[in-house]
């Protein structure tokens, strides 16, 4: 009861406190606040890296905070404008990073990156491009994810199924699986959160039109009257529908969680899944070892390039509000060094942007090594639509894909919806 009288006082004191910004602590020691997703292994990776970083930078402390994916996309931009912004943060390469650059929230770090020991001297040009805008570097790619069709080797061997070379053959595999047991889902999709099917469309667009055929649409750089008018977009949807007609996917794919789809393959209920490189961790955890993988086959008569595959770089950026830009760049350079790249692979099971020491990774599965080797042979990386496209166009694309799968719109109507969103977004672009 005594505290009762004090409480209103506290509240008022608090209210007054709200009006004044708490000044940042002044100290010799540098604390870098870092935000990342809470993917498995990330906390451990950052913790050991921070420890190792102390050897060369005894005065730098890393304060690491993690978020679930959905919360991250919301919290990051809000925090970056606030007074409590992280110094260093994870981001996807693509529209999200581009917007931060445009709004002046991500720091241009070309000079520091190109200095001796900077990440600019370590990473390949292709990966540096992931965070390059208008010729300046705004971040360092830490890893890249790709996608393959994973398959159950035992199932394919027992039933004498050959690996498909074209999309038509892939549909044939689905039919063969259904012929063996109509209740087996050949390659579950799990599109409830919408990104599984957009990954398909990302690759199908490439397989039909090629990277160069779509780039101008994706950038909204094509003249308005030609924007998203390539018949290839509708054809790519048709390719997806052909697979659905062949019985490849589960019933109600738009109501199925991706975790359910992943579990169906991992528990060997389904013989295939078009899955990200991150899926191997789940397969290993489920005790499933005898799986193989192949790149999504080409579309016959399409302009796709067999050497091109899904490649989404993710990495670290520096806030433009940071007081410690020099240390921040040194820190992210350290994170993408060969040694830390190997640690990254070991702890997160993701493929590091710097794979020079990948052979030193203990407990790496054969598939993990094969994937690293294969990713080294990509001629082009295909960035994913929902990250690459302007946000409203991406949202239209996600919804159109859902409706195509539900058969509530035709491919042509879906492309028309996307084109409409693209036109609206293009009209809003600042005139150059």
């Amino acid at each position: 009861m005594k505290t009762f009288l004090q409480r209103p006082v506290h509240i008022m004191a608090f209210a007054v406190g709200l009006l004044s910004v708490v000044p940042a602590a002044l100290a010799q020691d540098v604390t870098l606040k870092m935000w990342t997703l809470d993917n498995p292994g990330y906390p451990e990776f950052i913790a050991q890296a921070a420890e190792a970083f102390k050897k060369t930078h005894p005065d730098v402390t890393i304060e690491h905070q993690t978020f679930p994916g959905d919360a991250y996309k919301t919290s990051l931009p809000v925090a970056l404008v606030g007074s409590d912004a992280p110094d260093v943060f994870f981001n996807w390469s693509g529209d999200a990073a581009k917007r931060l650059v445009r709004d002046g929230l991500a720091l241009g770090i070309t000079d520091a990156a190109m200095a001796k020991g900077g990440f600019g001297t370590e990473l390949g040009a292709g990966l540096l491009d992931a965070f390059r805008y208008d010729g300046k570097l705004y971040g360092a790619a830490a890893d890249a994810v790709s996608k393959y069709v994973f398959y159950n080797k035992d199932y394919f061997a027992t039933n004498k199924i050959a690996l498909p070379k074209t999309m038509a053959e892939l549909a044939g595999v689905c039919k063969a699986v259904r012929a063996i047991d109509p209740d087996t889902v050949p390659m579950p999709l799990g599109n409830k959160t919408r990104w599984k099917a957009i990954h398909w469309m990302t690759m199908l667009n490439e397989r039909v039109m090629g990277i160069d055929g779509t780039a101008a649409d994706y950038d909204l750089a094509r003249p308005a009257d030609a924007l998203f008018t390539d018949p290839g977009y509708a054809q790519a949807f048709d390719e997806l529908l052909k697979l659905q007609d062949a019985g490849c996917f589960e019933e109600a794919p738009n109501a199925t969680e991706y975790t359910v789809a992943d579990a169906m393959f991992a528990t060997q209920a389904s013989p295939m899944e078009f899955c990200g490189t991150w899926c191997t961790a789940g397969l290993d955890a489920a005790g499933f070892t005898n799986y193989g993988f192949f790149r999504l086959p080409l579309v016959e008569g399409g302009k796709g390039d067999a050497g091109a595959n899904f490649l989404v770089p993710e990495g670290f950026q520096v806030s433009s509000k940071t007081q410690h830009a020099k240390e921040a760049v040194e820190w992210i350079s350290f994170l993408v060094s060969p040694e830390q790249g190997a640690k990254f692979a070991e702890l997160t099971k993701f493929l590091p942007s710097n794979p020079k020491m990948i052979d030193s990774v203990p407990n790496a599965t054969p598939q993990f090594r094969e994937i690293v080797a294969d990713m080294g042979t990509f001629t082009r990386g295909v960035n994913v639509l929902d990250v690459l496209l302007e946000a409203s166009v991406a949202d239209a694309y996600l919804n159109a894909t859902v409706e195509v799968l539900n058969r509530t719109v035709t491919p042509a109507e879906a492309v028309a919806q996307i084109r409409q969103a693209a036109l609206a977004a293009q009209a809003k672009l600042p005139a150059k």
């Binding site: 509240i11 709200l18 606030g82 489920a286």
Partner: protein, 273 residues
Amino acid sequence: MTSRYRLVSIGLHLVMTVWTLFVLAPLCLMFVAAFKSQADIFTRPLGLPKTLTFAAFERAWGIGIGGFLFNSLVVTALSVTLIVVVSALAAYVLARASSRRMQALYLLIVAGFAVPVQSVLVPLYQFVSAAGLLNSQIAIVIPYAAYGIPFTTMLFYAFFLEFPRELEEAARLDGCSRFQVFWRIVLPLSGPVVASAAIFQAVFNWNEFILALMLLTETRVRTLPVGIYGLIGQYSADWPALMAGLAIATLPLLVVFVAAQRHFVRSMSGLGK
């Protein structure tokens, strides 16, 4: 007559039983799934677990469900206390005043009930962030308190309007100040309304999600809903651990409720005043 009465009675029991089973089934599913393997959940949805293992509970605990639970308890207790005290004070003053100015103030506070929290997320975030209060228990307790005040003030206001004045006036004649009257006479006699307001706000704040998602970004300060939400990763999810986490999160409150349910109905009567 008696047989007809029995038939009706059986019918009523049937209605209650059906709804009770409907309520129980998902809860049972949650507890059972926590003991299954990921493969079992997906391949034998209606089956019982093959072995009784607490592995999923260990994983969920390892992610920090215990901490989330503790945070939720602290945040709920603090915010509910704050709501009840602040609202009662304000409602008492307002219920004893008749000037237009005071009525306007009452309407101003009550209007807050209509503001959905997600519509003010950004200004709220910037405000809390500017005050340097992100990721602290207080960052969430204060807004929770603010959002609980309008409804609770409404409740108390209605209650105090009906409160017998004679008691207060007697105390006044003895020289008590207005605050003393409130503290010594009115509040001790407001048991039901305090209890029902507290229960209602506790349930609400215990479940609150979106503010906590925005304002509590560090794992160590997260409350249960956000902590549970975080169990779904960017690309993968451990369903047994998720279900075990939900079970751990749910069980303590269920136990408290079952233990206290005797007093529960009576304490809710305040809401209808």
